[in-house]
Structure formats: structure tokens, C-alpha cells
Amino acid sequence: MGQNILKALDDVSLEINDGEYISIMGPSGSGKSTLMNILGCLDIADKGKYYLDDKEINEYTDNQLSEIRNQKIGFVFQKFNLLPRLNALENVELSLVYRKMDAKSRAKTAQEYLEKVGLKNWGAHKPNELSGGQQQRVAIARALAGNPQIILADEPTGNLDSASGREIMQILKDLNKEGKTIILITHDLKVAQQADRILYIIDGKISQERTAV
């Protein structure tokens, strides 16, 4: 039986600076999701090296990766990925639960971040009682609750109407101004152009890199 090795990413060399806002663009199947999984420590590259804060991630154990995701990275997904059984506040608390924070300070911190994304009075609502835009704001609050340095957003406006999309993009922009590193994955040029730098990936290779206008 012959084996075909599929290289999702091939010879990618990339450096992202602290506090930068970068967009990664590319058609579906181009490898941008794989890149995001590696950057987000959800997966480890079979070959090559990934340094995060000058530490080589490739050698990390499963538990250490969990810890890094918990401490340093906040995810925002296209489909929000909220837990349907938990209300908005409990969803925001999630990363804090795995930090062994006590229930009281958890709820307090989560409430602060819900207020930050403009959902002060929505904490008790379940995700299915919220609009798409609101759900994505809950997801952003969840990503922020652990106060990570990096926000990884995978098509955050993909499932939203344009008005909600603009709101979400504004929030991301504000976060970048506060000093967070934002990595945005999208195939929408208009959205991508908000970043400082745009990276094009085609067939697993970085084909073009340019500074946004």
C-alpha cells in the first residue's frame, strides 16, 4: 500500500511580534487552519520548530500545552463554540475554572469581561437565547477572561451579519490598541485589511506578505 504524505504546511517561516495585529488569508484547504492550530498550541507540527515567548513548544507535553492555551492564548471561533448548557457568564468563566480560581472571583472576573464586550445584563442567558453577534461577544469575553497575550480569531465574522461583524472587528481593533497580539484568520479581504500585516497562504506555503494600507 502506497503512502502519500500530505504536507498541510510546507517550509513556512514566520515571525509574529508582541502586540502585532496580523491577518492570515488563503482559500480553504490552503493550510491556514493547520497554521492556526499550531500557533494556538492545539496541535504540534510533525517537523519544524515553533517558539512561543522564546520557548520551544514542540517538546511540550500534552499537559504543558493545555497550560499554555490556558495562560497565553484566547480563541475566538467562527461558530462561537459556546457550551450550550452553560449560561453566558459560566461560558466566560470556563478558562478560569481550569486555573483553579475560586467560584466567587471567577464570577466577578467573568462579569467584568461581559461588561467589557457590552453584555452587562446578559450573563444569565443561555447561548441559544442570544443573537449571533451577542454569542460571538460572549466568546470574545471568554477568550479575554484569562487575560492572555494572544487572541487567535478564526473567521470570527464568518457567521455574522455585516453589522455584527463590524462590531466584532471593532472590538478586536480596540483589544490590539490595548496591547494584545491579534492573529486573525479570514478569507475576507476587507476584514483582513484591518490588520497591520496580511499573510497569504496557498498550498501550504506563504506566497505573499504585505503590509496593509
Partner: protein, 388 residues
Amino acid sequence: MDIKTIIKMSLKAIASNKLRSFLTMLGIIIGVTSIIVLVSIGQGTTANITSSLQQTGSNKIIVRITNQGSIKELSYADLKDYKNIEGVSYVSPTLSSSITAAYESNSYDATLTGADENYIKINNYTLSTGRAITPLDMDNRNKVAILGSDVASELFSHADPINKVISVDGINYTVVGVLESKDTSSTGTSDDIILTPFTTAQRVLKNANISSFTVIADSSDDVENVMQNVELKLLSYFGTEDAYNVNNSQDLLDSITEVTNTLSFALGGIAFISLLVGGIGIMNIMLVSATERTKEIGIRKAVGAKKKDILMQFLFESAVISSLGGFIGILLAYIICAILSKFSISTVTSFYIVLTSFIFSLAIGIVFGIMPANKAAKLRPVDALRYE
């Protein structure tokens, strides 16, 4: 993740799928309930028999004459030999036969027992009214009867039977006494008897021989010795061991206890199998649940849950399901035992068996929860997040 959060999380997961959780629990509930109820019935029966045998005294030796392999018969006069054995307090013969007793238009099937003046005391009866058999009755072969409580109430209902004349298989007896009900009737129809002097019974039943007799030792310490001597005497008289059998209440107690204990274990064992099946049910549902919640596991891992956290979450869920099932099972078992006692089936529920079955149900939740929990914990976050 702290314990309080895990417990809250698992309760939430269980509550969000009430019907499914209940059905999963049902296996454990049935298992625990049946273990406790069956063992309780077994132990109740043992306790019942033990107490009624202990009531009759452990210094009692019962000899039954079966007459197998020997043409010799034992007569009333022969009993003197047994009375003279050292350590024997007294010997009481009995001669029994099934009869029909009648008074006016009422009739009742009972046992006519020919006995001497010691019979009532030996067999733990007490007189409710009237008098017992006297030595004079024995000498004169008086046709007097002392009625068991069932016989008295069937023949006379509320009337006073004393000095009334009843007919036993066509022969008239004067009622001189009535026995108190023995109530704990695990030994059979103890309130169904009619006592008459032994000598009277011999004449009426046209049987000069003894069908059984009871030897009472001075103390329970003497029982072993007395029993040996009684057996020796019987052997030398009949010439074969087949012609009689000798029991004391302790032997009887031991063998009955052994039988009921074996029964309890067998029943408990069958019930334990149903508990195991309940555990497999939990494993099944937890596997389904792990698959259904792949996305949730992915999300939790993305925000920083470790393998251990997911493992604990699922393990706690199955442990909570099984221990909750165990708890409900215990309550149900107590209710069933209470209902059974209303139907005069005695049950003894020991704390030990309740604790054991609860621990077993918890252990089953954990053991059968490990595989699904491990499956959930091992999921790679990338794969889990991609799952729809």
C-alpha cells in the same frame, strides 16, 4: 479544577438529561434494591427460626422413633431407663395423630397430641385459661383436652370453651384449658393442637407405643453427654441406628442457619449480577455521552482543560449516577421491607449489607466509568473541535 465545581458540573450534566440519567440509574437501583431486600429476607428468616428455636431451649433433645429396620417398639414403661440417665431432668413422651375436632356445628382439622404434665413447659406454651394436664389425668386416663388457640377460636369463636364437651373423631373430651397463641409460628402449626393425657391418647389411638419423646437435660452443658447416653441406650435397645433419630435444638439451629445463609448468599449473588448489568448500562451511556460531547471536550481543552480534568469530569458523572442510583435503591429497599413486614414476612436489614451494596454501586460507577472517561480524555483538541 476543584471538587465542588466538578460535582456541580456533573449534577448539571445529569439534570440536563433527566430521563436518560434515570434509565441509566435504573439498573443500579434495581440491583441495590434486590440485594438488600433479598438478603434482608434471608436474614429475617434466619433470625426468626433462631429465636423460636432458642425459645424452646437448648437443653432439649428430641428423639423420633422411625421403626425402620427393627420390629421392636418403645413403650411408655421403657422411658424410665432414659429418666435414670445422669444429667436428665425429665423425659416427656408424645403420641400424635391427625384428627378432626367438632363442637356443635363447627369442626376443625387439628393434631391430637398425647402428652404428659411437662409438655406445656417444654414446648414453651402458656395457659390462657383453665388448667394443665395433671398426674391424676395420666393415671385415670381422663378424656380431657387442652386446646391450642386456633382450635379454641375455630370451634368456640368467642364463647368460653372451659367444661364444654368436644368430639374428637367421635370420642368426647371435656375441655379443661386453652393455650395462649404462640404467634411466631415459623415451626409450623403450633396453635393447631389438642393436648390430651398421654395415657388417654394411647388408649384412644389404640397405640401403646411412643412415636417420639423429649429428653430435657439439667443444663445446656449436659446436653452433649446426655445425648450420647441416650443414643447408646437406643442403639442397644433397637440394635440398629436406622430405627430412631436424635436431634437437639442446637443441631437443628445450626443446620437451618446454614441453609438460610446459603440461600441469602445465592439470592444476593443473583442480585449482584443485576448490579453488574447496571454497571454495563452506565458504561454504555457514558460512551454515547462522550461521543455526543466531543465538541464540548474540544472547547474545554482549547481553553486549558488537561487530560486529568476531562477524565475527572466524566468519572464523576458516572460515579454520581451510580451512587445516586445506589442511594435511591437503599430507600426503595427500606420501603419494600416495610411493606413486606405488613404481610408478616420478617426482614432484618443490617447496616453492613446497606453499606456494602452502596459501596459496590459507587465502585461499579467508577470501574465502568473509567473506560468512557479515558476515551473522552484522550481526544486530541484539534480533532474534537472539528467534530460536528
